[in-house]
């Protein structure tokens, strides 16, 4: 049997009101003597107010829900780490949901989370969403990555600018046939990167060839398969990969096709995962601050929980183009 407040009251010989007030630092001053006696009993019996009973009244679940498309994705796990790092300091815990990139799952998770009276939700989804309706009243929502219909609580990254910069870099280095690996599902950030790529080609009078594009899942294997199809089919001197994981797959595809990076093929990723600088050759990529995105998301959400009226700010994160060994001038 768990000890309850009643037990403590009985042991100490005071009322449960007194115990409760002392524990919550409420009410008028109690005699130091009773205070001590209560506190001692609490300690001796390792008493903790029941979470559910307490919440029935206080409505402070100190829990937030977080939904990610894939926990094993290196980008998202870094975001989770950031969220956790902030929230744990505030004594909040996070209910983690893995949506497997499924929009249906996301909706179902949101419902479950809401039922559990979470104080807020962080939804990391590249899907464009019409979730507003279900989320409107209750807790606060914060989206990372992805275009949204709402005016607040959007955490975005300069996908377009980051991607544009990387393509321009290739062009500046003499590349004229530049491929791109995108994803099959039309994710927001992938579209942005793709649009930037197209625009950059246009701006540089390079006429786009449809066979320069290939899509697949945004995973290592997805990148491998997509790159293999693309490289077998056509000759490009450089390949912009949707993200670093796809770039890793590309390394393998290139290797199998007898292409050396960067001599025969320049490769650029997006994300700057920890692993990317350790690849052979180290990957040229567009860095985005995954941990910071998570940390900021948590910070904003927390503030919003504490100040229900106030709007959640938006924030757009900068990217940083990092040149490493996987790219080189085309004529070298």
């Amino acid at each position: 049997m768990k000890t309850t407040i009643k037990d403590i009251a009985q042991i100490t010989g005071v009322s449960i009101t007194t115990v409760s007030q002392i524990l919550n630092n409420k009410g008028q001053r109690f005699s130091e003597d009773t205070r001590q006696r209560v506190l001692k009993a609490v300690k001796d019996h390792d008493y903790n107010p029941d979470y559910f009973a307490q919440n029935l009244i206080k409505r402070e679940s100190k829990t937030i829900g977080m939904i990610v498309p894939d926990v094993t994705d290196l980008f998202f796990s870094k975001v989770i780490e950031g969220v956790e790092a902030y929230l744990t300091k505030k004594d909040y815990m996070i209910l983690l949901c893995n949506s497997n990139h499924s929009h249906e799952m996301e909706k179902s998770y949101i419902k479950q989370l809401l039922n559990r009276s979470v104080a807020g939700i962080i939804l990391a989804s590249p899907n464009s969403l019409e979730l507003e309706t279900s989320l409107q009243s209750s807790p606060y929502l914060l989206i990372d990555r992805g275009l949204n219909t709402r005016a607040e609580g959007n955490l975005l990254v300069k996908e377009y600018e980051g991607s544009y910069e990387s393509v321009q870099y290739l062009v500046n280095n003499g590349h004229k046939s530049i491929g791109m690996l995108t994803n099959e599902l039309g994710y927001y950030e992938m579209s942005e990167r793709y649009e930037a790529y197209r625009q950059c080609l246009t701006d540089n009078q390079i006429s786009f060839q449809s066979e320069w594009i290939e899509d697949g899942p945004v995973t290592i294997e997805g990148g491998y398969e997509a790159a293999k199809r693309l490289l077998k089919r056509t000759k490009v001197t450089a390949l912009c990969c949707g993200n670093d994981q796809m770039a890793i797959g590309t390394y393998r595809a290139a290797y199998e096709l007898g292409l050396t990076i960067p001599d025969d093929l320049s490769v650029i990723g997006f994300d700057d995962l920890e692993i990317s600088s350790y690849l052979n050759p180290p990957l040229t990529t567009v860095a985005q601050p995954a941990f910071e995105i998570g940390y900021t998301a948590a910070t904003y959400l927390f503030q919003s929980i504490k100040n229900p009226g106030v709007k959640i700010p938006n924030k757009t994160f900068e990217t940083e183009f990092i040149v490493r060994g996987s790219t080189q001038p085309v004529d070298k």
Copy 2:
């Protein structure tokens, strides 16, 4: 205002008892008419029983806690994925805790989790633990990776056998100077792998040199630093890395020191992360079933929650030695 059971009762014109019983499929049969009316009202108003009020009575939080040393670790995120995959089917959710390899954090998380009346806890910790006391009474515990003092609920991997096999393979291929990268913290599984390495050398009459060993954090960077120190200091023809991440770091270290894998140095990892087969060269490694470990952990824990009396089984997972391109005979 959230709709409560009272609202539904009022709207339908029945008692709250009736609403509750219908919703829980309890009590004697109600007239089909009232059933329908209640169900409709519930639907119309999107009524959901309050999680806290319900739990105050039912004590079924349908939540488990999971503590991992590092969410961004590729092995653990795979384990998490396995846990989540099983639990989500059971309508359970998981409170994720990132202990950052800290024993103190683990203890603090366990306490918090217990306060929240989780139905069980999955602790993925390489630390040896004296947590039994705090966990004894309340929920069920399940440990993955790590030696423990308790007789049930241990999920282990054949670390020793897996490691031994890999070292023996090197010996069989003519390697006589074989280094090893371990971790600094004395993790259980790392000790096992190390012990197997030592024993295998002994069994093959290879006299161990202390400079063949180097330790560091079990991360990419940790492996990089450790390998660099080791390879600078001494000449080995093969290096067994504590895990795949360390092996990835080793690739970089070898590259920077002008060593070609596998020509100058054979490298073996442990884990078989998805990424490992995509490395250049593909990594020879000892595979362990991370997803399955997580899935099994969740299964056992769930069963134990449902059958409180019954002991949680132990399970030891097999490893599989996978030869890829990072190793070759020494005389080739």
